[in-house]
Symmetry: C2
Subunit: 395 residues, 2 copies
């Protein structure tokens, strides 16, 4: 039994993570300012189905399981909100027991603006992404320095930090020999969007904090996540996580399946050879749990590449078409001009062994798994808004 705080607890990954840890008996606090929901509203990108507020979900969870997830609504880019989680000044907007839960053993940091197209939408949203993501991370780093250097910080980075280099992508670090001398460095990073660049900056920042103050950190370089269901969401559909299917917040597998369901041709950008690492939302929860179960030493920044397999956009499109056809859908694939500046054919060979070494058992994007996603999305077919899928954000 530990006290675990989840920053960004209302998000696509945050809420399922909260339920998972709550279900395994931990004391959970979630914090969120609804940035993701509000952004979806402002940009009119919609969600597949309505999702109750964080407070409503915590109440439903309590009614159904008897377990408590404490909810604090607040903007973690404000330092006092973050520090309140450690010094007890936090006010819970909902809790059974409103007493301060104490300093967490583990803090999981999802509280970032997570969309590349959002960060490239215009200069204002670029600034918002930059200042939100960096200030939240910095506030967390200074709060750990000032209040709790023993708390294990688990942060979600992205495989996109590495870009698509012409050499193998190692897990976070690279040993370099140069002119007869040796040095271990953070693996060199160069990202393809402003959002992904803020994640490089997060890594730079925590590597500083770990070296200076002996913080304990795990940084998970995650690929795009797909899926809806987790063990806990099956209890009641009102516990389902946020699901976006638009170009801005919808990750590619989720978006393609939705497009297939409503007969919207799958939009492959350019040649479709863009290859990335992917994982099931169930595996995100496994990876974060395995990381929490194996805290790092003081002064250790542990980095894992959090993907289970690599796939090209063409492979995903073809799989979506094949599985969709089995459902009797007429799924078309349409290669459109690439709105992004990115390599459409490239070398891609990342290492991703570390998480399996600490016990994660991968799910893969099999036809059966994708069929399950189709079945869920088809339940909400009537709610899908076709006109919000494509936005044409260019960079």
């Amino acid at each position: 039994m530990a006290h675990i705080v989840i920053l960004g607890g209302d998000g696509y990954l945050g809420w399922p993570t909260a339920m998972k840890f709550s279900n395994t008996g931990h004391d959970i606090t979630v914090v969120d300012n609804y940035l993701r929901r509000n952004s979806c509203t402002e940009l009119d990108v919609g969600m597949l189905y309505p999702v109750p507020t964080l407070i409503e979900r915590a109440k439903i969870w309590h009614e159904l399981t008897g377990k408590e997830i404490k909810v604090a609504i607040g903007d973690l880019s404000e330092p006092e909100v973050m520090r309140g989680l450690f010094n007890g000044d936090i006010e819970y907007q909902w809790a059974i027991n409103k007493t301060f839960s104490g300093i967490p053993e583990t803090i999981i940091h999802y509280a970032e603006q997570p969309s590349a197209p959002y960060s490239m939408f215009n200069y204002k949203l670029a600034n918002l992404t930059l200042s939100n993501n960096l200030l939240v991370t910095n506030n967390l780093m200074f709060a750990l320095r000032d209040y709790s250097r023993d708390t294990h910080m688990i942060k979600i980075g992205t495989m996109g930090e590495y870009g698509t280099p012409n050499i193998d992508i190692e897990e976070g670090w690279l040993d370099i020999e140069h002119k007869g001398r040796k040095q271990k460095f953070l693996y060199p990073r160069q990202a393809g969007s402003l959002y992904h660049t803020t994640k490089i900056m997060d890594t730079d920042l925590f590597w500083f904090g770990v070296r200076m103050w002996g913080l304990k950190a795990t940084d998970l370089m995650q690929g795009p996540v797909y899926g809806i269901e987790t063990k806990e969401s099956l209890i009641d559909s009102r516990l389902n996580t946020i699901f976006n299917y638009d170009e801005i917040f919808g990750t590619i597998v989720n978006r393609f399946v939705t497009q297939a369901v409503i007969g919207y041709p799958l939009t492959v950008y350019g040649k479709g050879g863009q290859t990335r690492g992917y994982l099931n939302i169930k595996d995100t929860l496994q990876c974060v749990a395995a990381s929490a179960n194996t805290p790092t030493q003081k002064g250790e920044l542990r980095i894992f590449n959090q993907i289970m397999e690599t796939l090209s956009v063409n492979q995903i499109a073809e799989k979506t078409q094949r599985v969709g056809n089995e459902f009797g859908l007429d799924v078309k694939i349409k290669n459109i001009e690439n709105p992004r500046n990115e390599a459409e054919e490239h070398y891609y060979n990342p290492v991703y062994q570390g998480l399996q070494n600490i016990g994660v058992e991968p799910h893969y994007l099999t036809d059966e798994v994708m069929a399950g996603l189709f079945e869920t999305v088809m339940q909400y077919k009537a709610l899908v808004r076709k006109e919000i899928i494509f936005r044409g954000v260019k960079w």
Copy 2:
């Protein structure tokens, strides 16, 4: 004749740069929000002598030389202020001719909070450093994208981005061979303060903009600068640049000379083996001018290591003592407990040839040069406030 805009034109480097380019016949616009001056006031760290405001200095410069330096006072972390420099919405607080000078051929970006101890003073000043430095840089990048991809952007980075690796420090880039494949990367960076970390982030950011939008950029990895006088400041002492001698804003050579002048023992942190690259303020101007004279191609990020020699803290202390003694001063050296978390003995072998290749002729910190600095500082001896030198900012 070109139009050159200098962001941070009131600072230690900004104002001398403005005079130099004005003196060589260019149209100059300076922009500043007095962050540096206001920070000095708020932290009560003082300056060696009073410095007229930017508007007063521009007026003095005009009276003495007949040349115009247009002045805009504004906060460049506000995107509309930055964009006004390109779309003509800028309002000059002082100018002979208040007509918009047009899109600049060159823009020099000094508009950052430049002090490591300031950035580590507390979490609030850490956040201020992070958001100011990153938002100004991002606003500049997006303004260039939206209005002028032909403008050559020259930015001041820092040698501190590299830290003190155990391998030679190349000029910005590193060719890596790994498992039989090759890739050129930004040289891996790992800094020793939050301020220096924001400069790594700046580099990450501009490397993104250059790759995405074909921007033209030169990034100058500068070492600590020393000195007061430049060719143009000799015209009238009211044109002298800001000079700090405290632990927070005073660079080491300037601070040690001031300490020697007032009989304050030279405060060597720890063993004093910390080695860095240094340069004379006259060479900063040379380097920026040589960079402006050789604009990069579209899509090129050119990086120079902007130092002229490397020195350890002990070498600087001994030189200060020796030169001070020649002035009849009793200069003591005091090794104090290092308030910073840094290596006190380390390998340090940076390459710094690129700027000399484009015409920069180095000054060195000879005893004669240091004696000149002593002479200037001694004129203001009565104004030095002993109690503000040491602040004990720890990290």
